[in-house]
Amino acid sequence: MERLQAVLQEKLTEVLDETFGSMAFLGVCEASAADCATAGSLREAQLLVTEPVLMELHLATSEALLRQMVETLYNFDADQIEEHLINDLLAEILNTLAGRLMTALLPEQQTFALSLPELASEEERLDDKPLFEAFYLADDEPVIVRLQASGPQALLNLLQP
C-alpha cells in the first residue's frame, strides 16, 4: 500500500494544482493537517468513482476560499455571491479533480465512471480513517482531499505501470 499512497500523493498534487490553476489562477502547496486546522467553516463535497473500482472521493475547503474563487470567476462583488454559486463551484472543482486524477492514475485504455458530485452533510463526511488523505493550502486556505476505496489492492493493480 505504500506504493499506492506515494502514487496518490504525487498524482493528486499535480492535478489539484492544475485544476485550481486553470479554474481560478491559484496555486496549491502541500501542507499538514495542523496547517489546515481552521476556525472558519469548511464546505465538503463527495463523489463516487463507480468503475473500474469503487472509490469515494471527498474534497473539503474553506468557505472563504470558495467565495474568493467565485468573486474571481464571476467578477462579482462579495455581496453578489449567492450560496448556490459557492456549492456549485465546489462540486465542479471536485468533478474536474476526480476526472483528472483517474486519468492520471489509470492506463490510457482504461475507462472509468464517476457519479455526480454532491455536497456532503455532516453525517456523510469521512470521519473514519480514510485510505488516503492529503492536505494543501491555496492562498493560505485549507484544501483537504480524502479517499476511501472498497478494494485498494484492485486499485493498485490497475495503476499505470
Partner: protein, 127 residues
C-alpha cells in the same frame, strides 16, 4: 446571429464554457443553456443550432445519450457536438468520436485548446 447550446449540470461549468467561447471570438453568438441532456435535446430540436457543447455526466439524460439521440435524428445528425468532460481519457474519447462527437476536450477548459479544436468550425459558427 449564430446559435450555441451549452449543456452541463454545473452553472459554473456553463459559465466557464461560455466565457471561453466568447474569448475565442464567439461573443456575438446566441447562447442557450441546459442543465441536462433532455433540456439540451429540446433546445436543439426547437431551433436551428450551429454547435452543441455538452458535458458527459449529467442527471436525467447524460451526454452520451444526448449524443446518441442527436446522431440518430435525421434533422440533427449534422449538428457538431463538442463533448467537454472530466471523465474523458483516450479510450473514452475514441468511443465518443466513433459515436459521432466532433471532438472531446477534458476539463478544465481553456480558450487556447477550444480555439484549436473548433478552428474547422469557427468560420461557420461566427457567420
Amino acid at each position: 446571429m449564430k446559435r450555441i447550446v451549452i449543456a452541463d449540470d454545473s452553472g459554473t461549468a456553463r459559465m466557464m464554457i461560455r466565457r471561453c467561447l466568447e474569448i475565442i471570438g464567439l461573443q456575438d453568438a446566441t447562447f442557450e443553456e441546459a442543465e441536462n441532456g433532455r433540456e439540451a435535446l429540446a433546445l436543439v430540436k426547437k431551433t436551428a443550432t450551429d454547435l452543441l457543447v455538452s458535458d458527459l455526466n449529467m442527471p436525467i439524460m447524460d451526454g452520451e445519450a444526448l449524443l446518441q439521440w442527436v446522431k440518430a435524428s435525421p434533422k440533427l445528425v449534422d449538428l457538431p457536438v463538442l463533448i467537454i468532460t472530466s471523465a474523458g481519457n483516450p479510450a473514452k474519447s475514441e468511443q465518443l468520436r466513433e459515436m459521432g462527437a466532433f471532438a472531446v476536450i477534458n476539463k478544465p477548459i481553456n480558450p487556447a485548446i477550444l480555439s484549436e479544436v473548433l478552428a474547422p468550425l469557427l468560420d461557420n459558427v461566427k457567420g
